[in-house]
């Protein structure tokens, strides 16, 4: 198990603040967050390449905060793969084994079996400059796994790969994890990877771990305004609670009232989030709104087509963004400049915690 206890450090423009994180043996943790949030610094701190200003890092209960990287049994694969350009694939993979003074025949056998396992046996004498991104990625993984690390750190390892290779690599990582009971910590920007490989996701923003949980939790149930913004929640508003009946509350946002299925103390200033996907349109401009439904009227000010959906901005008292699936047919998509009524369920309005 890896435990980070109140780890803080400052490194130029990057910093970590009081990071508390526990990762079980065999777990696949994906670290996500905006650029410059400190994700790579966190990986390098776990690897021992950087030392925390305060706090401790424990591996299997032992404090390793002051142990240099060469003695931690943690391997790292960077986004650029960082293959040694002056060594062949064989020498790259054999690097760690030679340092451990593994006998020559044994080294050769281990390297060859890894090359075979990763389907790159033909690259044995190739230099990195003559390999494709996917091939370099495999060599980098084989090199990291050659030394039988207990923990594998991956810094956006699939970011530069085409979608097909990326999928293949994700499958490969899951297989590797399963076969070796490896603990994997992967930095990623991709939701696809978070859903594809992670047991758990840790969201890091401005050097703080703001939320941990399943990928679904992170993207569908963000706890704070910052997490909601990262999760792509299009509508985030601040308002004041004007009533609360024990099961639901009504808040006032600049004169417009929104009802949600959460309770909050009357008079409190709160922040709410509504995912664009949860906003739909009424067929008629004058609709009777039921108790479970919120309605906001306005005018369509912007339409942005996307791959699977259309993003529609509605201007009015409460400016909203709706994400409507294309070719659905069931929901009419209003056109630019047209008045419309946007609808969303009370249960889809999330109360966000400030200061998380």
């Amino acid at each position: 198990m890896i435990a980070l206890e109140h780890v803080s450090m400052t490194l130029g423009e990057f910093s970590l603040h009081d990071v508390d994180l526990r990762i079980s043996t065999g777990e696949y943790l994906v670290i996500m967050g905006p650029s410059g949030a400190g994700k790579t610094v966190l990986l390098e701190t776990i690897a021992g390449l950087r030392f925390p200003d305060s706090g401790r890092i424990l591996l299997g209960g032992t404090d390793v905060s002051c142990i240099p990287p060469e003695n931690r049994h943690i391997a790292i694969v960077y986004q650029d793969y960082s293959l040694f350009p002056h060594m062949t694939a064989f020498d790259n993979i054999a690097f760690g084994l030679r340092l451990r003074r593994v006998a020559k025949p044994e080294t050769e056998q281990r390297v060859r079996s890894l090359l075979k396992e990763f389907n790159i046996a033909h690259l044995i004498d190739h230099y990195p400059s003559s390999m494709s991104g996917g091939e370099q990625q495999r060599v980098a993984l084989a090199r990291a796994l050659a030394v039988n690390p207990e923990i594998l750190l991956l810094d956006e390892p699939f970011a530069a790969l085409d979608p097909n290779t990326r999928e293949e690599c994700m499958r490969m990582m899951l297989a590797v994890r399963k076969s070796q009971n490896l603990t994997i910590i992967q930095v990623s920007h991709s939701r696809e990877e978070a859903y594809g490989v992670s047991d758990r996701v840790a969201l890091i923003i401005d050097g703080c771990v703001v939320q941990t949980g399943s990928a679904d939790d992170i993207f569908r149930n963000p706890r704070s305004p910052a997490a909601a913004k990262y999760a792509g929640i299009d509508n985030i508003f601040r308002g004041t609670v004007i009533s609360c009946n024990g099961a639901s509350s009504t808040i006032d946002i600049g004169g417009h009232q929104i009802t949600l299925d959460s309770i909050a103390p009357v008079g409190a200033s709160v922040t709410i989030g509504i995912a664009g996907e949860h906003v739909s349109f009424a067929e008629e401009p004058h609709i009777t709104v039921g108790p479970a439904l919120n309605a906001v009227s306005g005018i369509v000010t912007d339409i942005l087509p996307m791959e699977h959906a259309v993003k529609i901005r509605i201007g009015g008292v409460l400016p909203l963004t709706a994400v409507v699936k294309r070719n659905n047919g069931l929901i009419p998509i209003p056109s630019l400049g047209e008045p419309c009524v946007a609808l969303f369920l009370c249960e889809d309005v999330h109360l966000l915690e400030e200061g998380v």
């Binding site: 390098e44 690897a47 021992g48 390449l49 240099p68 990287p69 060469e70 931690r72 943690i74 391997a75 790292i76 694969v77 960077y78 650029d80 960082s82 040694f84 350009p85 002056h86 690097f95 760690g96 340092l99 451990r100 230099y127 990195p128 400059s129 090199r143 990291a144 030394v147 690390p149 750190l153």
Partner: protein
């Protein structure tokens, strides 16, 4: 259309402006080479003079020894300057560059004051038998002093171009910092180390003012040329100069040939 791109007036103007310097260099070479090649017997007699051969050999060897010391002591310095972001880094870099901006007579005076027989370094070393005044090691220290920034800056630039991620990976695979330096940073900076060495060697071979302040004798080539110029006249000094030009060009060609495949895996070449 194609011609108007090929003969871009801006680029032609740049070529013409730069051409002035190139033409001056070629003329300077010809002004020595032509009269020497027209009088080969005189050239041969100078080239076989014991004093000339001795001065040339002394200069080459002293410069090589200077580069040897630079490689041993300044390669680690170049590495820490490239890698560490210590508070005083900027100041250390300025100190490294000081010999670049000093008049060479001033550099020579500094070296002399430090290494003369009564100097703070010269005196204790004299007691163990190492003498700098009018001696081989005097020439070497003067050469080291003036050529060190060329070496350090070239090598530091080489280390800066080696991505720190490569060393990080090596360390997680079990390499100590020194091993990562030796197996990753050093081989990937060979090109810069060699070109820095060559640059420093060239600078050392050409040094006159700083050397002459601490060691007029034994005479290095620059001193010899100056001495011949002031005592024997133009023809005498020109022959020695021409021999030196030929040797330097030969060394340059050999260096290029030796290093033709060096650094083919360097990151900035990949």
């Amino acid at each position: 259309m194609v011609d108007s791109i090929r003969y871009d007036p801006c680029l032609i103007a740049f070529w013409l402006m730069g051409g002035v310097v190139i033409v001056i260099t070629i003329l300077a070479l010809l002004s020595i080479a032509v009269p020497e090649l027209l009088d080969l017997s005189h050239l041969a007699s100078v080239a076989t003079e014991y004093g000339v051969i001795e001065a040339i050999l002394l200069t080459m060897v002293a410069a090589l020894v200077a580069v040897f010391f630079l490689v041993i002591f300044c390669t680690p310095l170049a590495y820490v300057l490239a890698r560490n972001t210590i508070r005083w880094k900027g100041m250390v870099e300025n100190i490294v560059d000081i010999p670049l901006v000093l008049p060479h007579t001033v550099a020579g005076l500094m070296v002399y004051l430090l290494f003369m027989s009564r100097g703070p370094i010269g005196a204790p070393l004299r007691s163990v038998g190492i003498v700098f005044e009018d001696a081989f090691f005097g020439i070497v220290v003067a050469m080291i002093f003036v050529s060190s920034p060329y070496y350090i800056n070239a090598v530091r630039e080489g280390f800066e171009k080696v991505p720190v991620h490569l060393e990080n990976v090596a360390r997680t695979l079990g390499a100590t910092r020194f091993h990562a330096f030796r197996s990753i940073a050093l081989p990937l900076s060979t090109r810069h180390i060699l070109s820095g060495s060559f640059l420093a060697w060239g600078r050392a071979v050409g040094e006159f003012a700083a050397v002459v302040m601490i060691a007029y004798f034994p005479m290095v080539v620059s001193t010899l040329i100056y001495q011949r110029f002031t005592t024997g006249g133009l023809a005498e000094s020109r022959s020695v100069a021409f021999i030196m030009i030929l040797i330097c060009i030969a060394v340059f060609v050999v260096f290029r040939w030796i290093t033709r495949t060096t650094g083919r895996h360097d990151h900035d070449r990949a």
